[in-house]
């Protein structure tokens, strides 16, 4: 399962790509595979505050729903509008066109608590079997 090295991960399978004071957030390839066909993604509005470890949205497959947890705290500065019509992008390209929100981080130190790609790869290895 693809686990890009330049990202950091939560135990709840969200990833974050940091660019300066901002972070782009999405769901890992492992998580989308476990969920199956994603049919709907509920995202916060631009300007909303998110808190590390708290739910910021919901991802739905045909017969399940899961909360999305923020890896870091901050303010939402962008959301991926195209997921409204094409939620399948989360399945097809979880680290690219399947991104969900972009956050202006208020406490960048929170990044230190997240997993590296290696640690995350290991955690899903053991979870998988």
């Amino acid at each position: 399962m693809d686990v890009p090295e330049d990202l950091r991960y939560t135990a709840d399978h969200e990833w974050i790509r940091v660019d300066g004071g901002r972070g782009r957030i999405g769901l890992s390839a492992f998580a989308q595979d476990q969920l199956g066909d994603i049919v709907f993604v509920e995202l916060p509005k631009v300007g909303a505050a998110v808190t590390a470890g708290s739910a910021f949205g919901v991802v739905e497959s045909v017969k399940s729903m899961s909360d999305l947890y923020a890896p870091v705290s901050g303010t939402v500065v962008a959301i991926n509008q195209s997921l409204a019509d094409h939620p399948e992008q989360v399945n097809q390209d979880p680290y690219g066109r399947g991104w969900m929100i972009e956050v202006e981080m208020s406490q960048p130190k929170e990044l230190d608590a997240l997993m590296s790609s290696e640690a995350y790869a290991q955690s899903i290895q053991s979870a998988g079997h």
């Binding site: 049919v39 709907f40 739905e60 497959s61 045909v62 017969k63 399940s64 729903m65």
Partner: protein, 434 residues
């Protein structure tokens, strides 16, 4: 079978019931009856009632004595429909699923809105669920309900609201219509929904477009309780901006059955679809590309979302929604318009005859459709009693639900089933007992 299970008596299969909880006596119920005796027994109960085929009724108040084409009953008798359950396995439930999808299409079209769901228990619970949709959508906790909305509907909204911190305010009447000045004062930035009824419970055509606009100005959603028969002619709620339309579908091919089962209708604008309660059917294709139908957007529902579901409802009113679907298909636009117009003509005739009687006055000047209210010079309940002796079921005495209208206030409904002769005879009978 007992031998296969290696037991000697069926009671061994109940050995896991602790002795202290067992019912160690026979049930205190009558002995069973063979079918012939049962048939006689239940028929005897039916015969103790005087039904609408024996009495001539002008009673409505939300439930109507309408004509049901024979084909509706024939389709409902198909065991493939009535002995199936919720379409969990769509491959062997296409009949039910397609019928629901057609129901959704007909209801959405009737109400002039984008989507409809698969039906609710009745019109009253549909209205209460619509209020919950508005509360969830707006995040607000105050609701304004017009007093001109059916008292049963208002009662159920109040009960549903007991679960949460929800304030319900009543919009008073000004004679026969809702008081728009009061509405202006009641609506605020705290208002989640305005609930109004068209035609009103009192039969009047309300200025709904203006009321919806007033609600929207405060950011509240507008929920319109809309009678499906009258809406053969009336502007559909979607056309004047209602966010949700709900209604009682009993008039669409369902007998009154002493209060149920009925079917609640609900349609909404597109943006609210993920907040709708209950089942929704969508079109799709199978692995061979053949078109078919499935239950969809199921993550809204209790079996997946559990405590976060938009409602706890499981099923819809499948068979009753099917009756309505068959009825709407048989009537089409022309048939529904004619049923509504026949009812309206009869009501206008009766209204004119009653208003010509000494001491009888209209509740107000607003136009009415097939139901209307008048003031009698005597208590309506007494008039009803005397009419019953003459073979008529009179109108609804409004005094209990609307003390402000007085004991003489009386709500009458005329359906397509009432002949000109019955109307004339009824008016004469009323004249005789006043």
């Amino acid at each position: 079978m007992l031998a296969a299970l290696d037991i000697s008596a069926i009671d061994d299969l109940f050995s896991d019931l602790p002795a202290e909880v067992r019912l160690n006596r026979a049930l205190d119920l009558p002995l069973g009856m063979p079918e012939m005796e049962l048939d006689r027994h239940v028929r005897a109960l039916a015969e103790q009632n005087r039904n609408l085929t024996q009495l001539v009724s002008f009673l409505g108040a939300g439930v109507y004595d309408r004509f049901i084409p024979a084909a509706v009953g024939e389709i409902l008798r198909r065991a493939e429909f009535y002995t199936s359950y919720t379409p969990y396995q769509p491959e062997v439930s296409q009949g039910t699923l397609q019928a629901i999808w057609e129901f959704q299409s007909l209801v959405a079209t009737l109400y002039g809105l984008d989507v409809a769901q698969a039906s609710l228990y009745d019109g009253a619970t549909a209205a209460a669920e619509a209020v919950m949709v508005a509360v969830a959508e707006t995040g607000r906790t105050s609701v304004v309900v017009a007093r001109s909305v059916d008292p049963q509907v208002r009662g159920v909204i109040r009960t549903y609201a007991r679960g949460r911190p929800l304030a319900i305010q009543e919009l008073p009447l000004a004679r026969d219509l809702s008081d728009l000045n009061a509405l202006g004062r009641l609506l605020s930035q705290e208002t989640a929904a305005l609930v109004i009824q068209q035609p009103s419970f009192l039969g009047a055509i309300e200025p709904v477009a203006e009321m919806v606009e007033m609600a929207h100005r405060q950011g509240a959603l507008a929920v319109v309780v809309a009678d499906p028969i009258a809406h053969a002619w009336l502007e559909p709620p979607g056309a004047y901006g209602a966010d949700l339309a709900v209604g009682e579908g009993q008039g669409l091919g369902v007998p009154p059955s002493f209060g149920g089962p009925y079917v609640g209708l609900m349609a909404a604008r597109e943006g609210l679809v993920r907040r709708l309660p209950g089942r929704i059917v969508g079109a799709t294709v199978d692995v061979d590309g053949k078109s078919g139908f499935v239950l969809t957007l199921q993550t809204r529902e209790q079996h997946i979302r559990r405590q976060r579901a938009t409602s706890n409802i499981c099923t819809n009113q499948g068979l009753i929604a099917l009756a309505a679907t068959v009825y709407m298909s048989l009537l089409g636009p022309e048939g529904l318009r004619r049923v509504a117009l026949l009812s309206h003509e009869g009501a206008q005739d009766l209204k004119a005859r009653l208003l010509a009687l000494p001491g009888v006055s209209a509740l107000g000047p607003a136009p009415t459709f097939y139901e209307f209210a008048v003031n009698l010079p005597r208590p309506a309940a007494l008039v009803n009693q005397e009419l019953l002796a003459k073979g008529f079921i009179g109108g609804r005495a409004l005094g209990d639900d609307y003390p402000e209208l007085g004991p003489g206030s009386w709500l009458l409904a005329v359906t397509e089933k009432r002949s000109a002769a019955e109307i004339a005879a009824f008016a004469d009978a009323v004249g005789a007992v006043l």
